[in-house]
């Protein structure tokens, strides 16, 4: 029971960081999404206490391991727009595949090139 309470409290901490971030982003009209500000709040808290409380770690790890679950409704939502892209089907398909590949190529190679230049290699290279 005590563990369940701690886990629930940890979840509330995540909700509070997210909500605070969203409110601040909205109030100040920042171009930064609220959830990103929420990440910074939680990170600031962890840096301040210099450790990850066990319950917070478990809740965060659990949610991150199941992020896919939370994206399913977004996937279902795509069906509403199927008619909209029927007319440009081929350009859309080619652009989505090729551009995703090219973006990964550009980001991945830039990362590795600069890591090599700055002597910051890691395993696998």
């Amino acid at each position: 029971m005590r563990l369940a309470g701690q886990l629930f409290l940890a979840f509330l901490v995540l909700v509070a960081c997210d909500t605070a971030g969203r409110l601040i982003s909205w109030w100040l009209g920042l171009p930064v999404p609220g959830t990103v500000i929420g990440i910074l709040f939680l990170l600031g808290g962890l840096v301040a206490i210099r450790r990850v409380p066990e319950a917070v770690g478990r809740v965060a790890d659990f949610l991150l391991a199941h992020l896919n679950f939370l994206y399913i409704p977004a996937g279902v939502g795509v069906m509403s727009y199927a008619a909209l892209f029927a007319e440009d089907l081929w350009p859309i398909l080619v652009a989505l595949f090729a551009s995703t590949f090219l973006a990964m190529l550009a980001a991945g190679y830039a990362f590795m090139a600069v890591a090599r230049l700055t002597g910051n290699r890691e395993r696998g290279e």
Partner: protein, 240 residues
């Protein structure tokens, strides 16, 4: 899963939203089982494997997608707190992240530029409509930001949202194969490239791979969202 089957009927009478959340959970569970049975391959993407039968179900039973979204919105809301959780692996890997600031900056600038420019050029070369191209431009950033950008540059926000999700699925499904083809073996580079190109759905996949990939993907997703939101509308004004 028979206990969930019983709860399905029970919750159906209590709240529609709870019912649809359970349906989603059920298909997610099935999708995970399938993915595990296939050795955890990224080709069996849980978002795709779960969303496709739900779409089929809605069409077959002639149910409006808005009814489903009563439950769907709750899960989309939960994405916020879950994403905030990225602070935890970020804290655990702080030293590693701090030492990679320069590679991340280089990958951010080149990756976010290529993600936008290549989509626009390919769409244009293949004769897509102006609205389609404008909705494609922000495809690599998270949904709420992409919708705002599409609106600002004259695309359709809802179409942009659909492109974002499809891009994420393409990245999550084929990312590992692309990295192998490109001989990218550094887990940090893989994660960062995944987050730049395929935002949250790519990040979900990256966390399935390992914590380092997931962390770098999460950072890339956040930074790419900010940079694209700031720069893309200005670039668009300059070049059109």
């Amino acid at each position: 899963m028979s206990d969930i089957g019983i709860k399905l009927i029970y919750w159906d009478r209590v709240f529609e939203a709870g019912f649809w959340i359970l349906v989603t959970l059920f298909f997610y569970y099935l999708a995970l089982r399938i993915q595990r049975a296939l050795g955890g391959t990224p080709l069996a993407n849980p978002v795709l494997l779960a969303a496709a039968p739900i779409i089929g179900l809605l069409i077959a039973a002639d149910i409006w997608v808005g009814d489903y979204m009563g439950g769907g919105q709750a899960l989309l809301w939960l994405l916020g707190p879950a994403t905030v959780g990225i602070a935890v692996p970020l804290y655990r890997n702080f030293a590693r992240v701090r030492s990679a600031l320069l590679p991340m900056a280089a990958a951010l600038v080149t990756g976010s530029t290529v993600a936008v420019v290549s989509a626009v050029l390919i769409g244009d070369a293949m004769g897509a409509s102006v609205e389609t191209i404008r909705s494609l431009a922000p495809k690599s950033v998270t949904t709420p930001i992409a919708m705002g950008i599409a609106e600002e540059i004259g695309g359709y926000p809802s179409l942009a949202a659909a492109f974002v999700i499809l891009t994420g699925i393409v990245g999550a499904v084929f990312g590992a194969a692309f990295f192998q083809l490109l001989r990218i073996r550094d887990e940090r580079a893989k994660g960062f490239a995944m987050g730049i190109a395929a935002h949250g759905i790519g990040t979900a996949r990256a966390f399935q791979e390992n914590e380092v990939q997931g962390t770098f993907s999460g950072i890339a997703m956040a930074l790419n969202g900010i940079v694209t939101a700031l720069v893309l509308p200005l670039l668009w004004l300059a070049f059109s």
